[in-house]
């Protein structure tokens, strides 16, 4: 299965994402630069975490207006799977590919720790290798992960099963409304989440709870 990783100045989790996709898919992802207007034919496009454009204006705001994001939107409209992690999630909401907004953490502090996540919807292309309601471990590292949506949007995404992962067991690190950690678009092919599943894919990471997300997205069978 082929994948692509979007590169933008200021991202710093791109190498982690490339390493994770290489290990899980067996093939190195292609990389696309911010000025690229075309993305090769791939099954999955990943937008990694970091601090694109120094978080100037709003996190992800400048990145979302770069040419490569128009190419991502075109691919997404054709049904290609897109996952944005952390800053990648912020970029997807700024680009209008996902509803809502990500605001400064309620604590005003940068949080770098492990949280528990509940798989709130296991019936998506990204979570089908998990069980509904399953609790997994996952690292987070962000300053602006406080998910917000107006009541109408929130009711819609909750009603449509678009909330895919929630912070569980009192580990909400940022004040996100309804403990929302990750959401999917209405077509079910664009996922954004603040936690970093790419940083928990093998024993050397201290666990592999995040691996099934990429295996799901890459169409790989559930690991034994």
């Amino acid at each position: 299965m082929k994948s692509a990783v979007v590169l933008l100045p200021g991202l710093n989790r791109d190498r982690d994402m490339i390493a994770a996709l290489t290990k899980i898919s067996g093939t190195a992802p292609v990389t696309v630069w911010q000025t690229d207007t075309e993305i090769p034919d791939v099954d999955l496009i990943a937008i990694p975490g970091g601090f694109s454009f120094g978080d100037y204006l709003r996190c992800g705001a400048i990145a979302a207006r770069m040419p490569v994001m128009r190419a991502v939107a075109e691919k997404a409209a054709k049904g290609v799977q897109v996952v944005g992690v952390c800053n990648g999630f912020q970029i997807l909401v700024e680009a209008g590919l996902l509803p809502g907004a990500l605001m400064r953490n309620a604590s005003l502090k940068f949080v770098c720790r492990e949280v528990k996540l509940e798989i709130a919807n296991a019936n998506t292309a990204f979570t089908r290798n998990y069980a509904a309601g399953q609790i997994i471990r996952c690292p987070v590292a962000h300053h602006d992960g406080n998910y917000f949506a107006d009541p109408e949007t929130l009711a819609r995404i909750e009603g449509e099963g678009q909330v895919v992962v929630r912070y569980a067991e009192g580990t909400n690190p940022n004040g996100s409304i309804n403990d929302i950690a990750g959401i999917i678009n209405d077509k079910g092919n664009v996922l954004g989440l603040m936690p970093h599943p790419e940083n928990l894919i093998e024993a050397a990471h201290g666990g592999d709870d995040g691996r099934a997300l990429f295996e799901s997205a890459l169409g790989l069978p559930k690991a034994a």
Binding site: L57, R58, A61, R65, V93, E94, P99, G100, A101, M103, R104, N105, A106, S107, L108, N146, F148, A149, D150, G175
Partner: protein, 82 residues
């Protein structure tokens, strides 16, 4: 070349929690400024636009707000031309 000077103010919508504003509010209270009911933090952009057509400048600035300067999910904006 004439220049139009404009100021764009971006503020959080009502009902959107503003933890930074809250922290500033508490800090003001700590400094002894009693009676501060609430503080909401926003952004100001001073923009210079070449030309003299104020109507066009205003339309352009509104478009800039919609496309980039404000996130209309959480923010309101106001354009003021000098």
């Amino acid at each position: 070349m004439p220049v139009i000077k404009a100021r764009v103010t971006v503020t959080l919508k009502n009902g959107v929690l503003d933890p930074q504003g809250k922290a500033i509010e508490h800090a003001l209270d700590g400094l002894g400024f009693g009676g501060v009911g609430s503080v909401r933090q926003g952004k100001v952009f001073d923009v210079e636009i070449d030309g003299a057509d104020k109507a066009k400048a205003e339309a352009d600035l509104n478009a800039m707000c919609e496309k980039l300067l404000a996130n209309t999910v959480i923010e309101n904006y106001a354009v003021e031309i000098a």
